[in-house]
């Protein structure tokens, strides 16, 4: 399976993502933001970081970069797109995903392990995953997901909420909400479920000696679903 990771000036999780994708068997290519064509890919990843220094709003400038139109075309034709952290922010700024990531409620940069409960298995990202509570890592200042009431209703009605922040035993409550995200939302899909944006970093949880391995479960499962 071929994947491509887009690098923006200020991306800083692009190489971690490259390592993770290759570790689980993807043939990955790195694509510069100033290119206008994507290599043949089964998966496009917008990585975490601070694209364009987070100027104006997180992800807003990257959302207008040269490569983005190709990503939008790829996504609209049903291609699989994954946006992690800043990648999620970019996806909301392009309009491919609803809502916006606001500053964390407590005005602090949060960097810690959290748990998420997978909410929807009927998609290429989470189908057949054998764990529904994953321990992942977050590192962000703007991860507080917000959308209008109408948008939230539409996300819920179309089963577009991918994962909720939860406790280690899977309880979705205020205590396990790290950043004030509406309804504990950690990640969402588009209507067709071929685009996933989420704040937690699975690529940081792929080695037991460094962190944990729930990210491995995510990537192994994703590759299996694509084969």
């Amino acid at each position: 399976m071929n994947s491509s990771v887009i690098i923006f000036p200020g991306s800083n999780c692009d190489r971690d993502m490259d390592v993770a994708l290759k570790k689980f068997g993807f043939k990955n290519k790195m694509v510069w933001h100033d290119d206008d064509k994507l290599p043949q890919s089964d998966l496009i990843v917008l990585p975490g970081g601070f694209s364009y220094g987070d100027y104006l709003r997180c992800g807003s400038i990257a959302g207008k970069s040269k490569i983005i139109q190709s990503v939008i075309d790829f996504a609209n034709s049903g291609g699989l797109v994954l946006g992690i952290c800043n990648g999620f922010q970019i996806l909301t700024e392009t309009g491919l995903l609803k809502g916006v990531l606001q500053q964390n409620k407590n005005i602090e940069f949060i960097c810690k392990n959290i748990f998420v409960k997978v909410n929807n298995n009927e998609n290429k990202f989470f189908e057949n995953i054998d764990k529904d509570v994953l321990e992942l890592h977050i590192a962000h200042n703007e991860g507080n997901y917000f959308c209008t009431e109408d948008e939230l209703k539409s996300l819920e009605d179309n089963n577009q909420i991918a994962a909720y922040y939860c406790s280690s035993d899977g309880k979705v409550d205020d205590k396990s909400n790290p950043n004030g995200a509406i309804k504990n939302i950690a990640g969402i899909f588009n209507k067709k479920k071929n685009i996933l944006g989420m704040m937690p970093h699975p690529e940081r949880m792929i080695d037991q000696s460094l962190s944990g391995e729930d990210g491995s479960i995510f990537f192994e499962n994703l590759l299996k679903n694509l084969k």
Binding site: S60, G99, K105, I107, N144
Partner: protein, 77 residues
């Protein structure tokens, strides 16, 4: 001509920085400060002499880039 634009959060949208500023002001003795909302200000030089045209451009600029209309409003002043 120069166009000035102010982008602010819509009412009802949480503004944690504004809240922190308000609490700091209260702590400094400005007890009468009830609320603070933080926004952004842009000074844009548009190569256009017709005011109406410049403002139309500015409006498009705001809609397409400067404001995220999910949470922000803009005002051309």
């Amino acid at each position: 001509m120069k166009v000035k634009v102010v982008v602010t959060l819509k009412s009802g949208v949480l503004d944690p920085q504004g809240k922190a500023i308000q609490q700091t002001l209260n702590g400094m003795g400005f007890a009468n400060v009830k609320d603070v909302r933080q926004g952004k200000y842009f000074d844009i030089d548009i190569d256009e002499s017709d005011e109406q045209k410049a403002k139309l451009s500015a409006e498009e600029i705001c809609k397409k880039l400067l404001a995220n209309q999910v949470i922000e409003d803009f005002k051309i002043i």
